[in-house]
């Protein structure tokens, strides 16, 4: 069991207050992230309403199945993070390590699939400014610019998340966490869940624009 007294930074009265403060700090950061992605979603909404035909034409080049697999992979990774928090609350650090490893594996699977999708886009000449050969409605490039910027920033967040989870495994292996002190696991989980929520919106907006016959 970790020495709880040493876990409390001197500006806090006790662990509960410290935990509350760090959770709140993470939520403040996530609020800035909501607005960071929110600006891009606003751009998406404006251009989709102005050039709907271009968005339909662009989205025909998405692989709905690969996107669906990735959505399921991310939803499962959120579940493994939540189960990791549950494990550390019970003091089961072995299970915590396993759930964090599963989370990293699922996150890496997502990125590998995303990489395949990007390379297909390159092969088909669908990358604006680099290799763009699509003859379509006016402004069809805008769809792909938004696709690469928004999924690219999302993927960047995934890479950061994998780094954070790796650090959490190392700290777990060092015996830093106990049922009384596991706040870094909790706030890392908040970040991971947020990145999952961004994808929950990206998937229907980019892959499912007009797939019905």
């Amino acid at each position: 069991m970790a020495d709880n007294h040493s876990r409390v930074a001197h500006q806090f009265d006790d662990l509960a207050q410290q935990q509350e403060a760090s959770n709140l700090g993470m939520w403040a950061f996530l609020a800035t992230e909501v607005l960071f992605f929110g600006g891009m979603f606003a751009a998406y909404a404006v251009y989709r309403s102005l050039y709907y035909d271009a968005f339909v034409a662009g989205s025909q080049h998405m692989d709905v199945l690969l996107g669906a697999v990735n959505t399921a992979v991310l939803l499962l990774s959120s579940l493994t993070v939540a189960l990791g928090v549950h494990a550390v609350q019970r003091g089961n650090n072995g299970a915590l390590t396993r759930y964090l490893l599963m989370t990293i594996a699922l996150g890496a699977t997502f990125l590998v699939i995303k990489g395949f999708e990007y390379s297909h886009k390159y092969a088909e000449g669908l990358i604006p400014g680099v290799r763009f050969a699509l003859e379509g409605p006016d402004h069809v490039e805008l769809y792909f610019i938004l696709y690469f910027v928004m999924t690219g920033f999302h993927a960047l967040h995934m890479i950061v998340g994998i780094g954070i989870m790796t650090a959490m495994i190392i700290l777990t292996r060092k015996g830093r966490f106990s049922p009384e002190y596991y706040n870094p696991i909790e706030v890392s989980g908040l970040y991971w869940h947020f990145v999952d929520i961004v994808w929950i919106f990206l998937y229907p907006l980019f892959y499912l624009i007009q797939v019905h016959p």
Binding site: D14, L15, A16, Q19, E20, N23, L24, W27, A28, L30, A31, V34, L35, G38, G39, F41, A42, A45, V46, S49, L50, V64, A68, T71, A72, L75, L76, S78, L79, V81, A82, L83, H86, Q89, P179, E180, Y181, Y182, E186, G189, L190, H193, F194, D196, I197, I200, F201, Y203, P204, L205, L208, I209, Q210, V211, H212, P213
Partner: protein
């Protein structure tokens, strides 16, 4: 003292609900609802996000001040989207 403990059953139930809602999103996309396709898709996505925030992110069991922070981020997002889109929607071009 370490916050509310959510049971494994709740986590699995929420995870299952998220997967069902995801399949629903895909299924509904293949039905032609005209302009309502995107409305339904965003409604389901918002509901999924609320499930994640309330249960996986433990906001349902969090303090009032956490609720204020979460609501504030949502509120400012709504300002960003509504004011931007109301501008474009009323330009008449």
């Amino acid at each position: 003292m370490s916050g509310h403990h959510v049971s494994r059953r709740v986590y699995f139930a929420v995870g299952f609900a998220l997967l069902v809602l995801f399949l629903l999103t895909v299924g509904v996309a293949y039905i032609d609802l005209g302009p309502f396709n995107v409305v339904v898709a965003m409604a389901i996505a918002t509901f999924k996000a609320i499930l994640v925030v309330l249960y996986f992110m433990h906001v349902r069991y969090s303090s009032r001040v956490t609720w204020v922070f979460v609501s504030a981020s949502f509120f400012w997002l709504v300002i960003l989207l509504v004011l931007t889109l109301s501008d474009y929607a009323t330009r008449g071009v």
